[in-house]
C-alpha cells in the first residue's frame, strides 16, 4: 500500500487528493502524453456521457457512418447537478466512460485529480488545433506544451442584448462603453425600467465580465496554483457593478427563475449582457417581446476597444483508463469539427461551435425574427474571436462559485460589497485547495 501511494504521488504532476485505499484497480500511466494507437483488429465500442439534449440523435449519424467505432451514449443531469461527481466516482471505481462532456471551468479539477487522458500524441487531435478558435484551445491545453486534455465543443462569446424599441423610444443611444452603459442606466431608471438584472447567484456571468476586463483569477506555473480573485481588472468590474447596485440602477431578481423571465417579458429589464445561448433564453422566457430585441457588441472599457468575454462552453474529454484513446479522439474531433455534427448540435441543443469555420454554419447566417430579423450571430462570431485567450479556471470552481454567490447575494441585499464577496471567495478557494493538498502559491 505504502509503495503504491508513493508511486501515485510521484507519477502525477500535481498532487492528488487524499489517496483512497479502495481504488486497487487504477494503474497509473506515466505523466505526459499517453500513447495513441489504433486498436488492433475488430470493431470498438466507446461509451460517451453527455447531458446535451438529444445528443443520441447526433451520435447516431456517426454510428451509421462508422460501423467499426460504435459510440454508446449515457446521460445524466448537467455537470454540477451530479454528472461530475459521477465521473469522479467512476474514475475511482475504474469504470469511467471513454468520453465525457466537461465544461471548461470544470476541466482543471479533472486534470488535478489525474482523471483525463492527454491527447497530445493523437495526430487527429493535434492536426485539428488550427480549426479551433485560439482561446478555446487554451481552455483544454491550459497553455501547457504538449497537452490537450479535451476537444473544445462549444463556446459562449458574450454580447449585449437590448430592447431596441425601448432605447429608441426613450432616445437613449446604445451604449458602446461601460461608461455609456452606466449613463444609460440612469436614464433607463428615469424611464421606469432597469438597465439590466444583476446576476446575484450565477457567478459565471460576473466571471465573463471580469474575463473581458482582463481579470485573471487563476494561474498555474506547473507546480503551484496562484489564486487572485481581486486583481486590478476584477476589482474594477466589481466596483462598477457595486456602484450600480448601490444606486439601485439594476434589479436583482434571482436568475433562471420565472420572476426573472417575467421581468424581461414585461419590459422591466432593458438589456442583458450575456452569451450567445442567451438568445434562446430570452426568446423563450420573454415571448411577448418578440421582434423588439437587438444585439450589439459588449460594452468596452476603453472606447473603440474590441474585447469580449465568454460565458460557458464545454469540451469533450477522454478519461484516464479509456482503452481506445485513438478511436475516442477521432469521434471527439468529428463531433466538434464536422459541419454535419455542428449543424445538428446547433439545431438540437443550441450549441455554438468552438471552431473558426463554425460561424459559417448556414443556421448561424440567418436573420432571427425574434431579434427584428437581425443576423445576430454575426455579432457573436466577431465576439468569439475577441475573447482574450489566457483566462484559466481553477481546480475547485464549485466551491469558489458557492462562496462568491453567497457574498453576492448578501451584497445585493445591502450587506457587504461585491469586492468583500470576492475576498471571501479567495480565502475559501485557497483553503479548499490546501485541504485537497493542491499546492498554492501565496
Amino acid at each position: 500500500m505504502k509503495k503504491k501511494l508513493l508511486g501515485v504521488l510521484m507519477t502525477s504532476a500535481l498532487a492528488l487528493t487524499a489517496c483512497s485505499s479502495s481504488s486497487d484497480g487504477g494503474d497509473e500511466v506515466a505523466a505526459g502524453a499517453s500513447s495513441c494507437a489504433p486498436a488492433s483488429g475488430g470493431p470498438v465500442t466507446l461509451t460517451f456521457t453527455s447531458w446535451i439534449p438529444k445528443i443520441e440523435e447526433v451520435v447516431k449519424v456517426w454510428n451509421d457512418a462508422h460501423p467499426e467505432i460504435q459510440v454508446k451514449v449515457q446521460t445524466g443531469p448537467n455537470g454540477n447537478g451530479g454528472t461530475y461527481q459521477n465521473f469522479f466516482n467512476q474514475l475511482k471505481a475504474g469504470n469511467a466512460p471513454d468520453l465525457g462532456q466537461i465544461e471548461y471551468d470544470a476541466l482543471p479539477s479533472f486534470r488535478v485529480q489525474d482523471g483525463l487522458t492527454n491527447l497530445a500524441a493523437c495526430k487527429p487531435v493535434t492536426d485539428a488545433k488550427d480549426r479551433f478558435i485560439d482561446w478555446t484551445w487554451n481552455q483544454v491545453s491550459f497553455g501547457e506544451k504538449d497537452a490537450v486534455y479535451g476537444v473544445p465543443q462549444d463556446s459562449g462569446p458574450m454580447a449585449l442584448f437590448y430592447r431596441k424599441d425601448l432605447f429608441e423610444k426613450a432616445g437613449i443611444p446604445v451604449p458602446a462603453t461601460w461608461e455609456e452603459y452606466a449613463a444609460a442606466a440612469v436614464k433607463v431608471r428615469a424611464a421606469g425600467g432597469y438597465i439590466t438584472n444583476f446576476s446575484q447567484s450565477d457567478i459565471n456571468q460576473f466571471a465573463g465580465l471580469a474575463w473581458q476586463a482582463g481579470g485573471r483569477w487563476f494561474s498555474n506555473d506547473g507546480t503551484k496554483w496562484t489564486v487572485n480573485l481581486q486583481d486590478e481588472a476584477t476589482t474594477k468590474v466589481a466596483n462598477y457593478w457595486q456602484d450600480l447596485i448601490a444606486k439601485k440602477l439594476v434589479s436583482a431578481v434571482p436568475p433562471w427563475t420565472t420572476e426573472w423571465d417575467s421581468a424581461y417579458n414585461k419590459g422591466q429589464a432593458w438589456t442583458w449582457v450575456s452569451a450567445v445561448w442567451g438568445a434562446n433564453s430570452i426568446s423563450s422566457g420573454a415571448p411577448d417581446t418578440s421582434g423588439k430585441w437587438a444585439v450589439a457588441p459588449m460594452p468596452q472599457w476603453t472606447a473603440g476597444g474590441k474585447v469580449a468575454g465568454n460565458w460557458g462552453g464545454s469540451s469533450t474529454a477522454v478519461f484516464k483508463g479509456s482503452k481506445h484513446p485513438y478511436e475516442a479522439a477521432q469521434f471527439a474531433i468529428w463531433l466538434n469539427t464536422s459541419q454535419e455534427a455542428l449543424t445538428l448540435l446547433n439545431e438540437k441543443a443550441n450549441l455554438y461551435p468552438a471552431t473558426k469555420d463554425g460561424a459559417t454554419l448556414p443556421a448561424l447566417g440567418k436573420g432571427v425574427d425574434f431579434y427584428g430579423g437581425q443576423k445576430i450571430y454575426d455579432v457573436f462570431a466577431a465576439a468569439a474571436t475577441q475573447v482574450t485567450p489566457d483566462f484559466t479556471w481553477g481546480p475547485t470552481m464549485t466551491s469558489t462559485y458557492a462562496s462568491a454567490s453567497d457574498g453576492f447575494k448578501a451584497a445585493v441585499s445591502g450587506s457587504g460589497t461585491l469586492l468583500d464577496a470576492l475576498k471571501k471567495a479567495q480565502t475559501t478557494t485557497i483553503d479548499n485547495l490546501k485541504s485537497q493538498s493542491i499546492p498554492v502559491a501565496e
Binding site: 461509451t47 443531469p77 447537478g81 451530479g82 466516482n89 469504470n95 420565472t258 434562446n280 422566457g285 411577448d288
Partner: protein
Amino acid sequence: MGIMGICTFYFLVPIWWLFVGATKSRGDFSGTAPLWFADFHLGQNLSELFAYRDGVFLRWMANSVLYTGGAALLGTLLAAMCGYALAKYRFPGRELIFNLVLGGVLVPATALALPLFLIFSELEATNTFWSVFLPSLVNPFGVYLARIYATASVPEELLEAARLDGSGEVRTFFKISTRLMFPALVTIFLFHFVAVWNNFLLPLIMLGNERLFPVTLGLYTWNGQVNQLPELRMLVLTGALVSIVPLVVAFLLLQRFWRSGLGAGSVK
C-alpha cells in the same frame, strides 16, 4: 382546529401551485398570477409531455412503478418474515441480529449510495436495473416495525394451536400470521414505497442509461436542461404533477387498511 387549518393550507399550497402551473402555457406561466388559472392548457402540456423524445417520460413512470412497487412488495415480504422470525422464534444471537437491524435504521440511504456504487462496480453491474432494484429491497425500519407488531398481535397460543393441527411454520406464517399482521404490513409497504420513490441519489449514481431512469431522476435531468431548452420547463412541471399521481393513489387506496389497523383493538 385553526392550527390544523393552517397546516393543511401550508401543505396543500405547493400542490395547488403545481396543479395550476401545469395547466398554463409557457407564456402564461411567467406572465400570470401563480396561484390562479389562465388559459387551460393542461391537455396540450400532457400530450407534449407524453410525446417528447418518443415518450421517454412514460418509460420513466413505468420504471418508477416497477422499482418502487416491486421493491416495496418484495421488501415488505422480507421485512415481515424477518421481523416475524425475530419476534416468534428463540435462537442464539436473536437480539444481536435485531440490534444490528436497528442500527441499520440509523444509517441514511444517502450514505450508502457511494459504497453500493463501488460494490456494484466490482461486480460490473452498475447501470443495470438490478443496481437500483436490489439495494431498494432493504428496509431495516420495516423489520423493526414487523417485529414489534408481530409480538403484539400474533398470540403464541394461536401458533401453538396451528402447530398441533399440523400446519407447517411457513404455512402458518402465510395463512395466519400475515393476516394478523396485515395493518402493519400496509404501513411498512407505504413507508417503503415512499422511501424508494424518493431515493434519488442511488439511481443518480448508478444509472447512465436514460431508458432505466426513474421519473425523479429523469425530471431532474430535464430541469437541468431548462437553461438550454426553456420549453422543457412546462414539461418538468407537468411531469412533476403526473409523477405524484401514483403516490396519491397508493395512499388513497391503502389508508383504509392503515386506519383500521391503528384502530383495531382499541375498544376490545
